[in-house]
Amino acid sequence: MAKITIDVKIPQGPLAEKWSNYKAHQKLVNPANKRRLDIIVVGTGLAGASAAASLGELGFNVLNFCIQDSPRRAHSIAAQGGINAAKNYPNDGDSVYRLFYDTLKGGDYRAREANVYRLAEVSNSIIDQCVAQGVPFAREYGGLLDNRSFGGAQVSRTFYAKGQTGQQLLLGAYSALSRQIKKGSVKIYSRYEMLDVVIIEGRARGIIARNLITGKIERFFAHAVVLGTGGYGNAFFLSTNAMGSNCSAAIQAYKKGAYFANPCYAQIHPTCIPVHGEFQSKLTLMSESLRNDGRIWVPKKKEDAEAIRAGKLKPTQIAEEDRDYYLERRYPAFGNLVPRDVASRAAKERCDAGFGVGATGLAVYLDFSSSIERLGQSVVEERYGNLFQMYEKIVDENPYETPMMIYPAIHYTMGGIWVDYELQTSIPGLYAIGEANFSDHGANRLGASALMQGLADGYFVLPYTIQNYLSDQIRVPRISTDAAEFDAAEKAVQDKIEKIMAIKGKRSVDSIHKELGLVMWDFVGMGRTKETLEKALIRIKEIRKEFWSNVFVPGQSTDLNVELEKALRLADFIEIGELMAMDALNREESCGGHFREEYQTEEGEALRQDDKFSYAACWKYSGEGKEPELITEPLEYEFVQRQQRNYKS
C-alpha cells in the first residue's frame, strides 16, 4: 500500500510573514454568495461560539449546536486563570516571537512552528476584541489592563478577570453569538447532540443530531461542518472536565475518516483538589494562577508526612526548615511556575516517595502564608477570593489559615482531530477548532493558552481559512436531507441506539465508566510504561466487551434519556481510551504530558527521541475491530533550534 503523505498547506515565506501571505492570497467569498452557504458549527465554547458569531457576522448562514440548555454553559466557562497575549504592556520583554517560542518549548517541540507563530501573532487582537465586547478584565488603578504570570513563562502576559477569565471570555463570545441569533444569521440548536457527520462524495455535508428533549433523530445539511467540541479528558471519568464533556463528535469524525492526532498527549494539571472518596463525580481545578503567590511543599521528613496522614500533626506545625519546597529546589529559575507537566510529575514523585500528605497520601500543600504575610489577606483575597471560597466549600477548610491540599488531575487534551494549517481535517469540508483539534500545543499546553487558542481559531483563523474552501462551493445547491447518505447515516445512528437499548444488562453506565477511568489513570496516566500500556489495551478490550454485553439503559430512546446520552458517550470514551494507549505505546519517548518511564534523564526529566518521534502521529480508522493505520506528519523545525527543555536555570 502506498504510504499516505500529508499535505499540511503551510504557506511559503519567512515565519513572521506566513499568515499575512496566506491572507493576502487566499480565496474569498463575496457577500451575496455568503448568504447561500450554510455552515454547521458544533459546540458553543470559546472556539465554537466565536466561530459561529464571526461567520454569522460575515453573512454566512450558520447552524450552531450545543448539548447544554444554553450556549453560555459550554465548559470553556470554567477556565479560571487567564488568557495569554504578547501585548508586552508590562514592558518586561515580551514579544510575538517570545510567546511563540515559549509555547513551542512548553509543548516540548511537538507542535507545528507555523501554527504556533500564527497563534502568537493573533493573540493581541483577541484581547482588543474582548475588551471591545465589554469583557471586564482586571485593571490597574490607572485604568489600564493588569497582567499576571503563568507557568512556563518569565514574563507577565496573562490577562485575567478575577478567577473567572474563561467565563468572561465565553460570555463575550456568547453575547456576540446572541447578537447574530437575533439577526437571524445564526440559528441555535440547544440540547442537541451530534451523533454523526454525513459525508457526500468525500466531503462533509451535514450532521445527524439527537434532540435531547424529544429523543428525535434529526438531519442537518451544510456546505461545511466545523467541530468545536472540546477534548476527551473524561475518558478518565474523574477529570476537571464538565460531566457532559465528551469526545463523541471527534470519534464520529474519526470513524468517517478524519485522522486523530497524538491522542496520548493529555495534560495532567498539577493543582486540583485531591480525590477524597469513591462517590466522587469530578475533580475541581484550582487555577494555575495560584502558583503566582502560593508555594508548593511537602514535609522534608518522612515521619512528619506520616504523622500528618495519621491526623496527628497539622501542616502549620511543621517548621519552615522542615518543609521541602521541591519545585523551588529543583527548578530555581522558574520555581513554582514551571510548566504543568513538570509540576505534576514532581508532585507524583514526592508522593510516590512517601512524602505525600492528606488522608490518602496523594496530596501536596499549596501554601499562601508567606504571600498573606507579604501582601496582606485583602490583596490575596482580591486576587483569588473566589477560588479560596470554592476550595472551602468543597473541603471545609479555610485556606487563609491552613495550606490548600492539591494533587494532579487530568485536565486538557492536546491531542485531537488532525487539522492542516487551515484547520481543515483530512475530510474536505470538515474543520476542527479549539481543544477538539490537535494543532498548537504540542505535547503540553502552557497555562492560559487554551483560551487564546480557542478564540484565535474562532475569531481570527477559521473565518478566513474556511472561505478558501467555500469559494469553490458557491455553486453547490443546498442538498436535500433526503439524500441516501443522510438515510444511511441516520439508520446507523438508530441502529446503534437500538443496540444499546436492547442490551438490558446489569451494569449502569457510570459503573463501567468508572472502571475505564481507573484503567486510564493507573495505566495511561502520569507515568506510562510498555507493560502498563499493554495491560491497558487488554483491559480496555474487556471493558468494551462488558459495555456492549452488560450495560443497562433504563427508559425509552424516544424520550429525554440521560442514561442513553451517557451510554452513547461512554462507547466513544472506550474508543478514545484505546487510541490513547495505542498511541502512547507507539511513542517510545517522553515529551510534555506523555511520560514513558523508560525514557527519562538521570534527574527524572522527560527525554525526547527527536530522531525517531519528531512527528505528529495521525491515526486513520480502518474499520471496526481492526487496528488503525498510523500516518506520520513530520515536524520540521526551520526557525527554532530544538533543545532539552530546561526550567532550572
Binding site: S50, A53, S54, E57, Q68, D69, R72, R73, H75, I77, A78, K87, I127, D128, Q129, C130, V131, A132, Q133, G134, V135, P136, R139, Y141, G142, G143, L145, Q167, S175, A176, S178, R179, I181, I188, S190, I213, A242, M243, H276, G277, F279, Q280, S281, T284, L285, M390, K393, I394, D396, Y459, F460, P463, S508, D510, S511, F552, P554, G555, L560, V562
Partner: protein, 251 residues
C-alpha cells in the same frame, strides 16, 4: 469531619412537560457528609437503576459552580441551605441525620418543567439576544488599552458580569421576576465605556423582552440577591431602572 448520615428525599417527578408531576419519596442510608448534593443524587440514581427504575433527571454540568446549569430548589431555597453556592457546590454536611429533604424544580411561568427537575431556561437566552451585547463585529476594534477604565468601575462591572444565568433569582422571587438577571447585564455594559453607547436601546429592548416572556414585576424583596450564587447586588437593579426610565423619558 466526615460523618455518615441517613436521609429521606421527597423529589418531584414529572414525565415530561405535559404530564402532571408528583412527589416521590426515597430513602438513602450512609451518605458521607463530604458528598456533594449532586453526588448524593448520583448515588440515588445508581440505586434506582439497580432497581431497574428510571433515574431522576436533573440539570448539571461543570460541578464547580460556574456553568449555571444546576438548578434545584431544596428545602425552600434555590440551591439549598448554603449561601453563595450553586447546587453542585452544596455539600451534605449542611444536612442533619434523619432529615427529610424536599427537592423541586425552579417554579416560574417562564421556566416550564421539561422532565423531573429539569426546566427550560431559554427565556434567559432570549433576553440576552434582545440586546445583552455590545454591537461590535470581529476585528477592527481599537487597542485594548486605548480607553482607560477606572479600577473601581471595572471591578463593579466584573461583579455584575459574574452572573451565571442559573435562574435562581427568578426561582426565589415571589413575583417570578428576572430583574436581577437583566440588571446584571445592563449594569455591566452601562458601566463600561464600550457598552455605554447603546445603554438606552439595550435597557429598553431587554426589559421589553423580559416583560413579553411573562416574568413578574420586581418589588425589591431582595430574595434574588440572597440566593444569587454569585452574590450579585440588587443595586444593579436601581441602575437598570435609572437607565430604563431615562431612556423612556427621552423618547
Amino acid at each position: 469531619m466526615e460523618k455518615l448520615i441517613n436521609i429521606k428525599l421527597r423529589v418531584w417527578r414529572q414525565k415530561d412537560a405535559k404530564s402532571k408531576g408528583a412527589f416521590e419519596t426515597y430513602k438513602l442510608d450512609n451518605i458521607s457528609t463530604d458528598t456533594s448534593f449532586l453526588e448524593m443524587l448520583d448515588i440515588l440514581n445508581e440505586q434506582l437503576i439497580s432497581e431497574r427504575k428510571e433515574p431522576i433527571a436533573f440539570d448539571h454540568d461543570c460541578r464547580e459552580g460556574i456553568c449555571g446549569m444546576c438548578s434545584l430548589y431544596i428545602n425552600g431555597r434555590p440551591h439549598g441551605p448554603d449561601d453563595d453556592v450553586t447546587t453542585c457546590q452544596l455539600h451534605m454536611r449542611k444536612f442533619k441525620d434523619g432529615e427529610t429533604i424536599t427537592v423541586e424544580p425552579w417554579r416560574s411561568r417562564a421556566f416550564p418543567v421539561i422532565k423531573d427537575l429539569m426546566v427550560n431556561r431559554n427565556a434567559y437566552d432570549q433576553i440576552i439576544q434582545a440586546g445583552g451585547y455590545v454591537s461590535v463585529n470581529t476585528g477592527g476594534v481599537p487597542d485594548a488599552n486605548a480607553i482607560p477604565i477606572g479600577k473601581p468601575i471595572a471591578d463593579e462591572a466584573m461583579d455584575a458580569a459574574s452572573c451565571i444565568g442559573c435562574g435562581a433569582c427568578a426561582a426565589a422571587c415571589k413575583n417570578g421576576s428576572a430583574m436581577l438577571f437583566v440588571a446584571a447585564k445592563v449594569s455591566q455594559l452601562a458601566l463600561l465605556p464600550q457598552g455605554k453607547v447603546e445603554t438606552a436601546a439595550r435597557a429598553k429592548a431587554m426589559v421589553a423582552k423580559m416583560d413579553e416572556l411573562g416574568f413578574g414585576n420586581c418589588t425589591n424583596t431582595g430574595a434574588c440577591e440572597a440566593e444569587c450564587p454569585k452574590n450579585i447586588s440588587i443595586s444593579h437593579i436601581a441602575r437598570l431602572n435609572r437607565e430604563f426610565l431615562v431612556a423612556k423619558l427621552k423618547d
